[in-house]
Symmetry: C2
Subunit: 555 residues, 2 copies
């Protein structure tokens, strides 16, 4: 029997922020028993993934080892950690373990895909553990921006790994367990092989601030505001939703929740018993019965999402409610890079309505859910790992995180997606590079990042499309002239001649001089027609379009 290996393999989330998926293994090399930590999604954008619905990690490596997988553990219910469970569950075929709030969200996703609720098992907080194969795994409560976030203690005969999940150090988080320094220190007292640690805020130099600092500021803000106020934050940040709602209550404002996820998340938190002091809410249809200065709308869409409540309010109306001159809109949130234009669009629409917009104002109305640099130091000091492996970050975050660990005397390993790290020895090493990537959910189909489908759509968007059709008769002679249709291109080019006319003219001329050999050869004919269409377009409109040639041969 070969020696057992303890391994770590990130398939998503290491070298990017999004679609988290980490694999741990223990057992004989290449036959390790495996567990998966998190199955998240990332979100598409027009620049790189137009028309794509969701982005998931490529789990081909895992799927090929389906019978080695013991279980899936989900650290918390953010989409970038739990979003792919429904989409990928069948290909992994292992039970899912998480805490109650996370399970509530995960089960909804599983149901949507027709899976039983039993596929998701609820685990209580540490010291409760789950034993699966060579692993014993416990969920250690940790503060973050969603209820019941947990770090994982992963024990094997090869040693203990502590996987932080997303976290901040907050001893007064509002909802859920405060960060417990003693508990985290206790995890490290018998030695920790590796601390696999959130890196999101490694560039933020000040100690992170507690959720409890936000409430008084928002309360003051709501008392000072004259008209109706709408406030937005991530609905999953139940603690913030509560902070704002309680501040509203103290400021004499009734709370109305707008947006489906706002209701879903607060309900989930109430169902699992962690949200007990939420004020009574009023319904949208009752808002009009109250003086504006007694209303606080709590709305979805902090990132400028087009269909969210915030965007619809900015656009004029949502659920019969309109905002107007004298009202205020508060972003109790930070704009994620890439979402700036959408958020700014909403701000300008509110401006047109006469609504004042206030953003987080340098942190007065928002605090981050991730550990800043000094907090990462604290975590490392508590757990005292042999090795620090940064995760949940772009390359620059991981690199910086390794640097600060090594500067403090802890060895660090920069492992990006696909690097299989052997943790068995004292010196972790890169054992293998696994081919990884992204899987796109496109409509109802999963396509690979490099399948060329999305690349073709980007080309269509940049270059437009010319379709050339040509009929060849039974005798192998062209029947009539080639025919063009265009999409996404100017109708007229140079000298105001219609582009289609010029294209058809040039293509016809070519057919007139083409020899039988060319005409008999689909591949050659297609290539020639495409080239002419591109060249003519370049001359007419200064653009080389995508060209599809359809040759129909009769008989």
């Amino acid at each position: 029997m070969s020696k057992s290996r303890l391994m770590y393999l990130p398939l998503g989330g290491a070298g990017e922020i999004g679609m988290n998926c980490y694999v741990y293994g223990y057992g004989p090399e290449d036959a390790e028993r495996l567990i998966v930590v998190d199955l998240g999604v990332a979100f598409p954008d027009m620049d790189t993934t137009p028309g794509v619905d969701l982005i998931m990690p490529d789990i081909a490596w895992l799927e090929a080892r389906k019978n080695q997988i013991e279980a899936i553990f989900i650290t918390h219910a953010h989409e970038d950690h739990v979003g792919a469970v429904g989409h990928l569950y069948e290909r992994l075929g292992a039970p899912i373990y998480c805490r109650a709030f996370t399970a509530n969200i995960a089960r909804r996703k599983m149901s949507e895909h027709g899976y039983s609720e039993n596929s998701v098992k609820v685990v209580g907080p540490w010291p409760e553990t789950v034993k699966k194969g060579p692993f014993e795994v416990g969920f250690v409560p940790i503060s973050h921006s969603i209820p019941e976030s947990s770090g994982l203690v992963i024990d094997t005969k090869g040693g203990r790994i502590v996987h932080t999940g997303d976290f901040k150090i907050d001893v007064d988080p509002g909802v859920g367990e405060p960060f417990d320094h003693d508990l985290w220190a206790s995890l490290g007292k018998d030695g920790v092989k590796a601390l696999v640690c959130d890196s999101t805020n490694v560039f933020s130099k000040e100690e992170g601030r507690s959720e409890s600092t936000v409430g008084p500021e928002i309360e003051k803000f709501l008392k000072d505001a004259k008209g109706m106020v709408a406030a937005t934050t991530f609905a999953s940040n139940v603690s913030r939703v509560r902070t704002i709602a309680l501040a509203a209550e103290r400021a004499g404002r009734s709370v109305c929740l707008l947006g489906r996820s706002m209701k879903r998340m607060t309900e989930a938190a109430k169902e699992v018993g962690i949200l007990t002091d939420f004020p009574n809410i009023i319904q949208p249809e009752d808002v009009g019965n109250l003086p504006r200065e007694n209303v606080l709308l709590l709305v979805t869409g902090s990132q400028g999402e087009r269909r969210a409540a915030s965007a619809q309010l900015a656009n004029g109306k949502y659920m019969g409610i309109t905002m107007k001159e004298g009202d205020t809109f508060l972003f109790s949130s930070k704009t994620i890079p890439g979402n700036e234009k959408g958020v700014i669009h909403i701000m300008n629409q509110f401006s047109e309505l006469g609504v004042d917009v206030v953003d987080d104002n340098g942190g007065l109305y928002h605090v981050s859910g991730h550990a800043n640099r000094p907090d990462l130091d604290t975590m490392r000091d508590l757990v005292k790992p042999q090795t620090l492996i940064p995760m949940h970050g772009e390359h620059r975050h991981l690199r910086e995180h390794v640097k600060i660990a090594e500067a403090a005397g802890t060895q660090g390993v920069l492992a990006v997606n696909g690097m299989l790290i052997d943790l068995s020895g004292n010196q972790p090493r890169v054992a293998e590079f696994i081919e990884t990537g992204r899987t796109y959910l496109d409509g109802s189909v999963k396509v690979g990042q490099f399948d060329g489908i999305v690349r073709d759509r980007i080309r269509l968007a940049l270059n437009g499309h010319v379709i050339v059709t040509l009929i060849i008769d039974e005798d192998g002679d062209p029947l009539g002239d080639p025919w063009c249709e265009v999409m996404g291109l100017p109708e007229t080019g140079r000298n105001n001649a219609p582009l289609v006319d010029v294209l058809e003219e040039d293509l016809s001329q070519f057919m007139g001089r083409a020899n039988n050999k060319t005409i008999a050869d689909d591949t050659k004919l297609e290539k020639e027609l495409r080239q002419i269409a591109r060249k003519t377009s370049q001359g007419e409109i200064g653009k080389k379009p995508e060209v599809t040639v359809v040759i129909s041969r009769l008989g």
Copy 2:
């Protein structure tokens, strides 16, 4: 003869940041003589304008009044102020006036379009003026982030207008004239009808900082850095380029310029005599002959532009130069909203190379070229206008600017693109709403924002494209079955059946049951085939593609 009217009409730049174009008129109503201030461009993005090369203001209103236009005045050489001169000159047919540095840039653009250099006239600084029709216009030096920026004094019998152009208040700007409080106060002493004023930084609450504060910080930074350093800023910010180059010299580093515009801009500044103390530069091929710690690369691409020097260095190599572990890359710039992802991409690429990246670090290595809120107050206090008209801002900026002016006792007018403001009376009023918009340069063709071309390309990118071809014979009968090609769609859908096969099957079945009336009617047939193709696609791949139907009728 009707009474003369003094009017203001923004066609670009008011309600957005970009493509500045402002019109002033004086004379009998609807027959005013006109001047145009700035002819700028905005830049396309994948979200809203894929494949577009440049965005310009729609100048149809001006073109229809071509014979009323006296002149075009360009305040400074930033692309959003001068970028469209070559593209729109012919449609306006009026001479272009600007200061020497701006003229240098404008003439290059005009030459590229085959126009004579004489179309651009150089004007000296105030008190020199240009008299055109009822206008007397002077260029008043003002500090900004490009040499020879100017505010305009526009005198008519209907009163004086002061148009600030883009500006900051900097009494030690490095290159060009310091801001002169006395001069600006003198402009207002006989009364100013309207101050048309930059609004970009109205939300920045602290007084703006001088360019002169940047040099010492960068010098210290360059002295402390160990290996090679590359620094990026806008090449047009000649003052910053100089600041960095002089800091490098003091830090014992030779300067190498990388990127075409870096050379073009410094040359232009030297040609017009405003850059006299720039250190000697070394050529890219000499970089390798120097110790790394004695080199400073000054590179283009501060916004993450894909083809700029910064992106190529991040990608591995530019002009034979590579950066590596121990080197540092400095952003002496701020990321413009919308460019975050491109900038972050470069940062991560540098991280992969082991290159440390430092950004403006809360303003240590960069200062803005626009006036902050207290500076806007200063400007208003100096000029003492009857009316403040904010420009160069999104709606939220203009609205805020009006608010602060009115809070300080100056009436403000919120005028967005297309609002024709009558400034003749004591109370400015919106006289008319002009239809405005954007013109896209798409390849070599100018297309209108609402022509549908770009919208079609966006649809192709989101939905993919199905092309259905069908041949109808001389007797009006289908010749063979409909034929499909797809682009940008998954090859296989549900149950792994090829999408094209399923589409062709469903379309053939339809043709089999279609009656002669349908088959004889192109419009109807097309509509039916499109609907089937969309419905089948929805079922197979969960997506409704764009469908082009090509029906070829023989004989």
